[in-house]
């Protein structure tokens, strides 16, 4: 507002004069008149002020912006319209157009008076704005403010242990890998059991069916594809709601069967434009894993391993690599003590930058954000860059019409190297990393084991060379543009009957491609090998989905305010298609990496697919005095995955809520000062699930081999004309409590879900049909039951310390779920329950009807046979017991003769058959009988000293499948988490813990590391192995490709209970007055540690192991979850 006063006055005078000279001043204005005026504030005329003419529905019909002198003018459209003047930071002026010239004085907005907002918080998960206190379904919402300044990188990290009933397990610590999420257990035998992820009402999921033709050589793709879903930048998230029961998920129909995770992103809001920048540094490192053998221990172990099976040195003699023969040309390369794991570990770093700009005015709100991440893994050779951006724009055309557009994009480029730690753990520790010269000095050239190496030894590729030369890139680009139009057809506020039409189009476009190149330098066989030299493969897949939604929401204004009703109908249609292409060439000349190179094409394939869906939803809410509420939802889904007869499925849900605390009599309770609020909820609903494959109801014909050089065709499947929706009926009973003036809020939910017409994939049928299976069949039922408890502590304790506010907040959640199959066709059951295969390392998998899933069955491990020969007693002709030297033996306390030990030769702990009382069974000649494994089968084996002892449960002298017993359950008895947040002034300290209790895990990685069956490097624990007769140990002898020392037994079944300190975070924001001096509006710092400590008895890498439906929890992890330290700063301008 800097302009000369003189000029200003002159103009004003001119204006006044001109107006005064106009005749007919009081005449009503008419269309076409020119309206003009001057805007000023206390300091003089204002420039760039918005002046608009608005019609009855608040639509702008004419517009001008004041010039440097504060003047404006526009042509009037309708004399009934109003004139509105707005400027940021000033109060809006709204006047009827009753004159041609306006002189308007703008008032600066002072401190806003404190406004008591009486409107209830609403829950919009059902599509209706239902007041939170009337919500009758089971939903848990977390607002992102709770996580602000936490330095989390993904959503799942933040949610772990926070949502009761949501089990989040991180299976891998690789970059870009994601977690497995199961909500209230797994209720299907087929397909993905992860919850549906919805972002701003848009299903954010690449339809698996569209890209399932993709065959990456690297199976980590699958997890990566899903992790893309959660690639949404945590800084953009406003809230996350987890929809648990059928009443809540009903509007998502068949896709919400596994629960729904609804993410709402931040939007712009009216006010000054705010710019926010934050930077985060994240350091990660690998925790200490197993101690492994060093080179010398390893060669010793191998020598024993080769010697033991046949008790001779023939094999060992051939393997010069473990013989320390300096004359061998590569001797220098095989005489080291290399710590391979240490060599592949590194300190991983992540730098994230995020900028967001948000603001808005009268007509439009916006928020634009962009984030850039660059990340290196805690293992060499991993690098990931990610760019995300999100634009949210709301434009109010009038107070009736609103247009909303969203645009989100994520671009990820990932250089993968997932095998490094796994390979490093297996590498021979006596091997050199680099070629070494005569004096053991590394030359810097990676050593790749030559083809001449003894064939028994492992041939893993040097993981350092692999990280340097093996190229494995994947890039992904996904774009989600959305367009939405909201039209208020009737009333505009709560006092009128409202009818809103909402139309929305969303696109989901995803492109990904992968490039892999395996150069000749990594090939131990050089050019001679099977043509896999210089192989490069290239995969591309793209998919797009379009969804259109029309909804009509009706909220009548009833005269009797005790009743409130709202209803919505929605019609949704989606269509998608996908394409993929995959090519691989080998034998290209060395520097050429392109998949299109002129080389031998070893593999080429393409795929294409389509999908469509239609659904209609009706949902209604009724509430009486907000005390009793009822909801009803019905959704009809049409799917292309079923034939005409069963194409449509209708899934209803009903729920009700009683706000007990609204009853008059409750006042007595409330007055007691403990219970403030209490509500009961009950819901019932059915959800459906479709098979994971398109086109099942078609009889398909495929071309087959040529006959007589002519193409042939044959029927390829049996069409599924009777296939039906898998239906899950759920009950949920919930209670909400507010205690101690709502300092404590408590939710308890009990649920039961019954899944019927279970979809069983690959249902075997007699081969007399010409086929081996039906793609799917509806058979059996399954039950999930459980309870959840969620407790929020809001300022449970607060005081003032040193003049600053100190408060304690917390959260606790517990849950339990059991899952069992109630009925299943015996054929399917028998097919799933395979016979025991008698192999090392396998646990009997067995599903019993009406028993919980995840039971582990195996042998009982009883230690190690100390001796091969029994040193006990013999009986003479008179039946007296004598020892081996013929001396009489006297009975022990149990009336048995004492078994004698001849140190180093023979003893009582030898593999001999004993009866139920532990007495040796002797044959007619007084000789003992050897204990055998799998007698009478091709796996038959006679135990010797140093072998593992398995308990002979039935005392038949034969260890076989009849000695397999129940060893425990993979499912936790209880799981959950709790958090504690302390805040003191501007400093807050946030801690989150999660735990599982009472589950067993098969420690597969320890099994591998202690099996002593192959020649890969193993755990240092094997140094305690049995070596000579008489050794007392629990670690069996080394046996190369021989024996049964690591049968699936309780030796590897461990207690998986744990308590993990997930993160601890310190957050401090600068005093605004200090910030102002720095010319910014706020600054905050945070520092946190992730995966701080894990208290567990489990000896493996990480006790977080998920068990799929019907299988046991087995930990084969090679890359444990890394530890992280994060430092971040966030600045708002």
């Amino acid at each position: 507002m800097t302009m000369t006063m003189k000029n200003n006055i002159f103009k004003r005078v001119a204006c006044v004069l001109s107006i005064a000279s106009l005749p007919g001043l009081l005449m009503a204005q008419k269309a076409g008149d020119v309206i003009s005026g001057v805007i000023e504030d206390n300091e003089g005329p204002m420039m760039m002020v918005n002046v608009t003419e608005r019609d009855a529905s608040d639509r702008i019909v004419a517009h001008d912006i004041t010039n440097i002198n504060g003047e404006f003018s526009f042509t009037l459209h309708n004399p009934n319209d109003r004139i509105q003047v707005t400027y940021v930071g000033y109060e809006t002026v709204d006047l009827p157009i009753n004159k041609l010239f306006f002189e308007i004085k703008m008032k600066e907005q002072g401190e806003l008076p404190t406004v008591e907002i009486t409107a209830d918080r609403v829950q919009e998960t059902s599509g209706l704005p239902i007041p939170l206190r009337e919500a009758s379904n089971s939903v848990q919402t977390i607002n992102m403010e709770e996580f602000e300044g936490l330095g989390i990188t993904t959503v799942d990290e933040a949610l772990q242990g926070r949502i009761a009933g949501l089990d989040i397990v991180f299976d891998s610590g690789d970059l870009g890998a994601r977690s497995t999420m199961h909500l209230r257990g797994v209720a299907t035998l087929t397909g993905d059991a992860n919850p549906l992820i919805v972002v701003d009402g848009n299903i954010w999921q690449v339809d698996n069916n569209l890209v399932n033709n993709f065959d990456f050589t690297n199976n980590s793709n699958d997890t990566e594809k899903v992790s893309e879903l959660l690639a949404i930048n945590p800084e953009d998230i406003a809230s996350i709601s987890v929809l648990k029961d059928a009443a809540a998920t009903a509007i998502w129909g068949s896709r919400g069967t596994n629960g729904v995770m609804e993410i709402r992103t931040k939007r712009g809001s009216r006010g000054k434009t705010r710019v926010n920048y934050s930077y985060r540094f994240n350091g990660t490192w690998q925790p200490e894993g197993y101690k492994l053998l060093n080179g010398d221990q390893y060669t010793m172990f191998l020598k024993e391993s080769f010697f033991n099976p046949k008790m001779n040195d023939i094999v060992t003699g051939d393997i010069w690599e473990i013989q320390y023969r300096p004359k061998e040309p590569l001797y220098n390369m095989y005489n080291n003590n290399t710590d391979w794991v240490d060599a592949v570990k590194k300190f991983g770093m992540q730098h994230s930058h995020n900028v967001s700009v948000s603001g808005g005015g009268d007509k439009a709100n916006f928020r634009i954000s962009a984030g850039f991440d660059t990340q290196t893994g805690s293992v060499i050779g991993q690098k990931m860059n990610r760019f995300t951006t999100r634009v949210a724009f709301d434009y109010f055309i009038s107070d009736r019409i609103k247009v909303v557009t969203n645009f989100a994009m994520t671009y990820t480029k990932n250089k993968r190297n997932s095998a490094a730690i796994g390979t490093a753990m297996k590498m021979m520790p006596n091997l050199a990393i680099y070629y070494e010269d005569r004096n053991d000095v590394p030359t810097g050239e990676y050593f790749i084991v030559p083809p001449t190496q003894s064939k028994q030894l492992p041939t893993h590729t040097n993981p350092l060379a692999e990280a340097d030369y093996h190229e494995n890139y994947s890039t992904q680009l996904s774009v989600q543009p959305e367009f939405q139009l909201v039209y208020n057809l009737m009333g505009l506020d709560n006092d009128k009957t409202r009818l809103t039409y909402d139309a929305r189009v969303t696109f989901n476009v995803s492109n990904s491609d992968g490039d892999e190149y395996n150069p000749q330098i990594l090939s131990r066989d050089g050019w001679k090998s099977d043509g896999s030299v210089n192989s490069s493969s290239h995969n591309i897949s793209k998919s797009s989905q379009i969804t259109t939604t029309h909804s009509l929401t009706f909220i009548p204004h009833l005269k009797n305010r005790n009743h409130s009703v709202m209803a919505m109908v929605r019609y949704q249609l989606n269509t998608g298609n996908g394409k993929s292409q995959n090519s691989k060439v080998t034998g290209a000349p060395s520097p050429i990496k392109a998949g299109s190179a002129d080389a031998k094409i070893s593999d080429i394939s393409t795929g294409a697919s389509r999908s469509r869906g239609v659904n209609m939803t009706f949902t209604a809410h009724y509430s009486y005095k907000s005390k009793y509420s009822f909801d009803f939802t019905a959704r009809t889904d049409g799917s292309t995955r079923f034939g005409d007869a069963n194409r449509w499925g209708t899934f209803p849900a009903i729920s009700g809520r009683w706000n007990v605390s609204d009853e008059p009599w409750f006042d007595n309770l409330r007055n007691a000062g403990i219970l403030d609020m209490m509500a009961a909820r009950i819901s019932w609903g059915v959800t459906g699930n479709a098979p994971g494959q398109e086109g099942l109801f078609y009889s398909k014909y495929k071309s087959g081999d040529k006959y007589l050089s002519t193409g042939t065709i044959h029927p390829d499947n049996i069409r599924m004309s009777t296939l039906q929706w898998e239906e899950t009926t759920s009950w949920n009973l919930g209670f909400d409590f507010g205690l101690w003036r709502d300092k404590v809020s408590l939710n308890i939910d009990v649920y039961s879900r019954l899944t019927e017409k279970l979809l069983n994939g690959d249902y075997a049928i007699p081969s007399s049909s010409g086929f081996s299976n039906l793609a799917y069949v509806n058979d059996g039922s399954m039950k999930n039951e459980g309870w959840e408890l969620n407790l929020n502590l809001n300022r449970i304790y607060s005081t003032r310390i040193w003049g600053k506010d100190f408060s304690v907040n917390g959260n606790i959640s517990f849950s339990d779920n059991t899952n069992q199959i109630l009925e299943l066709n015996p054929t399917i059951l028998e097919k799933r329950n395979k016979d025991f295969d008698f192999k090392n390392g396998s646990y009997l998998s067995y599903i019993a009807l009406k028993n919980a899933f995840g039971s582990i069955y195996g042998f009982k491990f009883k230690g190690v046979y100390q001796y091969s020969d029994w040193g006990g007693f013999v009986t003479d002709d008179n039946g007296n017991y004598l020892d081996a030297d013929g001396n009489p033996l006297f009975p022990d306390a149990y009336g048995r003769p004492q078994e004698k030990e001849i140190p180093g030769v023979a003893g009582s702990n030898a593999p001999i058959v004993r009866d139920a009382d532990g007495n040796p069974i002797l044959n007619q000649k007084g000789k003992t009988k050897p204990v055998k494994y799998a007698y009478g089968t091709t796996n038959e084996y006679e135990f010797k000293g140093g072998d593992a002892i398995y308990e002979d449960i039935n005392h038949d002298g034969n260890i076989n499948e009849l000695d397999i017993v129940y060893l425990g359950s993979s499912l936790p008895k209880l799981s959950g988490g709790f958090g504690l947040r302390l805040s003191w002034g501007r400093l807050s300290w946030n801690n989150q813990f999660n735990f599982r209790w009472g589950n067993k895990i098969v420690n597969g990685s320890r099994m591998d590391a202690e099996s002593m069956y192959g020649t890969d490097n193993t755990s240092a624990a094997v140094n305690w192995r049995w070596r000579v007769e008489g050794d007392e140990t629990v670690m069996p002898r080394a046996l190369y490709q021989y024996g049964y020392n690591y049968l699936g037994s309780d030796r590897y079944v461990e207690d998986g209970s744990f308590l993990r300190w997930n993160y601890t975070a310190l957050n401090y924001s600068l005093d605004p007055s200090v910030a102002k001096k720095l010319h910014v509006s706020s600054v905050s710092f945070n520092f946190n540690l992730n995966n701080v400590i894990c208290w567990t008895k489990y000896s493996g890498m990480d006790p977080e192991v998920s068990a799929g439906a019907g299988s046991v929890a087995r930990d084969n992890a090679q890359t444990p979850r890394s530890k992280q330290v994060t430092f971040g700063v966030s600045v708002q301008f």
């Binding site: 029309h550 019609y571 086109g695 050089s709 049909s769 010409g770 069949v777 089968t937």
Partner: protein, 567 residues
């Protein structure tokens, strides 16, 4: 309100733009679907050829040998034999053995059933699809189905019997077995029905041996009647084959004239073994024509292989290119006892003996020539005769299912068994018997003479009629021995032994033949099992029984089920 109406009508328009069901009808992009198929005769032809293609798959091919010959006295364990095959050769067949699965044959059956179901519908739509062509197509499909069942019932005795295609999941897939004889009668009926419809000749020369012709159908019928012990019908069918072969001969003669290498042996047209080569007078012509070149005059039905479609059985199981043996090798008995005549060229065609191995070379040689005059080997044939052969670059010989000499020997077997029925010692019976035995001998002798190669010295080795025409038992044994020599490694021997055992009602003859195959400690166990006629058949696969409770396991293998859970 006007606005509301407008908005509502817009929404309703959106709803009715296309019927929802049409919108949800989405045909797969990567496949041909039934709705768009079966519109013209080419569709019928391509699925029909698809049935042949499924019969030709390695899965079926290997089973033809496993079921038809591996358990016999011809074949034993070779080099690096896979465990499942090993157990079959040791006659320790468990229901968990992968080779007891029979799905591949039911694929042929289902494909054939599909053709039979849809071809008549196509005939209604496609005006170019003539009645005659339809009938010929149906005949081929029936013949293919009959052949598949024929293999199945000889291997498993009673099997589930399906004559409808598996199109959708409403069909009853869980079927109990149908008895051997019911199936046999059904397929005999089928084949008798089609003898007029099936083509005698196809347009393409190759198709005459690779698709079902009248002669192949007659041969198959003869084979079935032989098992049914219906001698008169065997004779009728065999004669039909000979009639056709006589016509074929005339045609061939017109084409090749003097160069023709088919000659008459006891009035039956067969390839001559002897031929003129650069090295002089040599033998091996019949082998080269039948097994080397393929698509020969003598073959009635064979599965064609070539470089683009390899024979997945011969190179792995018999001999690869290097002739160093596959999973199987010939037994010592086959190598040393089967060929009793010194100049029997079939020995060289079948076996290559080294000091300690008997490699199977039938099919593996692309061509061979042999000089019978050089050297003089004893009956225990040394390998010293001058001998020349070439091996296929890639092993892709055709696999013969029926050939003419097989038919001649079937006819001989029928006459012999017929003769057995004239038990009386009166002169009328004797005369009838002798007449039949003479007919049988003529047939055996024709095949045998050809094998002796036309070499002059061999004539002293010709079979002597009087030895056999007076003694039915000897004649029967001669027929079986001749069949063994002629059809060795062609997947026939075990079936021959089974047929004989079923006829006798015991397995004594069979056991006496195969006994030496087993080492002494396994022998008694196998013997005990083999006393049961059900042991001639294979067990049903464990998975099949698990899936379908209606299938009754072959009683001989039931006990194994219980004990042997492993593997």
């Amino acid at each position: 309100m006007k606005k509301i109406k407008l908005a509502l009508s817009v929404i309703l328009m959106g709803l009715s733009v296309s019927s929802c069901n049409d919108f949800l009808t989405l045909q797969p992009l990567n496949d041909i679907v039934l709705e768009n198929f079966w519109t013209n005769k080419d569709d019928v032809e391509s699925v029909l050829l698809g049935s042949y293609a499924s019969l030709e798959k390695t899965d079926c091919l290997v089973r033809m040998s496993i079921w038809g010959e591996m358990r016999s006295d011809n074949i034993t364990i070779g080099k690096s034999t896979k465990d499942d095959i090993l157990q079959i050769l040791r006659d320790n067949i468990l229901s968990t053995n992968d080779w007891t699965q029979y799905k591949c044959f039911y694929e042929v059956i289902n494909n054939a059933n599909t053709v039979m179901y849809y071809a008549p519908q196509v005939a209604k739509i496609d005006p170019n699809y003539t009645r005659g062509q339809l009938n010929a197509d149906l005949a081929e499909a029936k013949a293919l189905r009959a052949l598949a069942y024929w293999y199945l019932i000889r291997a498993y005795k009673d099997v589930p019997f399906v004559t409808e295609p598996s199109i959708d999941d409403t069909k009853e897939f869980f079927l109990a077995q149908t008895p051997f004889n019911d199936i046999l009668d059904y397929i005999i009926n089928d084949l008798e029905d089609i003898t007029d419809d099936v083509k005698v000749k196809y347009l393409k020369e190759l198709e005459n041996t690779s698709r079902f012709t009248a002669s192949a159908v007659w041969a198959m019928l003869a084979d079935m009647y032989l098992w049914k012990q219906d001698w008169a019908n065997v004779e009728r069918c065999c004669k039909k084959v000979t009639e056709i072969k006589m016509d074929d001969y005339k045609e061939l003669y017109e084409k090749e004239g003097k160069a023709i290498t088919v000659s008459f042996f006891n009035e039956y047209p067969l390839y001559k073994e002897d031929f003129q080569s650069q090295n002089g007078n040599r033998v091996g012509n019949a082998y080269n024509m039948i097994f080397g070149t393929g698509n020969s005059f003598e073959v009635l039905f064979e599965l064609p292989y070539d470089n683009s479609k390899k024979n997945g059985f011969v190179s792995d199981y018999y001999c690869p290119k290097e002739l160093n043996g596959g999973y199987l090798k010939a037994t010592n008995e086959a190598a040393k006892k089967a060929f009793t005549q010194e100049y029997d060229v079939r020995y060289f065609e079948n076996i290559r003996s080294t000091s300690d191995e008997n490699y199977i070379v039938k099919y593996a040689y692309e061509d061979m020539e042999c000089n019978l005059s050089e050297g003089k080997a004893s009956v225990v044939l040394s390998n010293k005769r001058y001998f020349n052969n070439s091996v296929r670059e890639s092993t892709s010989p055709n696999w013969i299912i029926y050939r003419y000499s097989d038919v001649l020997l079937m006819q001989a077997e029928a006459y012999t068994m017929w003769a057995k029925e004239y038990e009386g010692t009166d002169s009328a019976s004797t005369a009838d018997r002798t007449a039949l035995l003479e007919k049988a001998f003529t047939l055996v002798d024709a095949v045998n003479k050809r094998a002796l190669g036309g070499y002059s010295a061999a004539s002293t080795e010709y079979l002597v009629a009087s030895t056999y025409t007076s003694d039915v038992e000897k004649m029967e044994e001669l027929v079986l021995d001749e069949r063994r020599r002629e059809l060795m490694f062609e997947g026939k021997r075990w079936f021959d032994l089974c047929r004989k055992s079923l006829r006798d009602g015991n397995t004594n003859y069979l056991w006496s033949k195969i006994e030496d195959k087993f080492d002494s400690n396994a022998r008694s166990a196998v013997r005990i099992k083999m006393t049961d006629l059900d042991a001639l058949y294979f067990p049903f696969n464990r998975d099949e029984i698990k899936i379908n409770p209606l299938i009754k396991q072959n009683p001989v293998y039931v006990e194994d089920e219980f004990i042997q859970k492993a593997q």
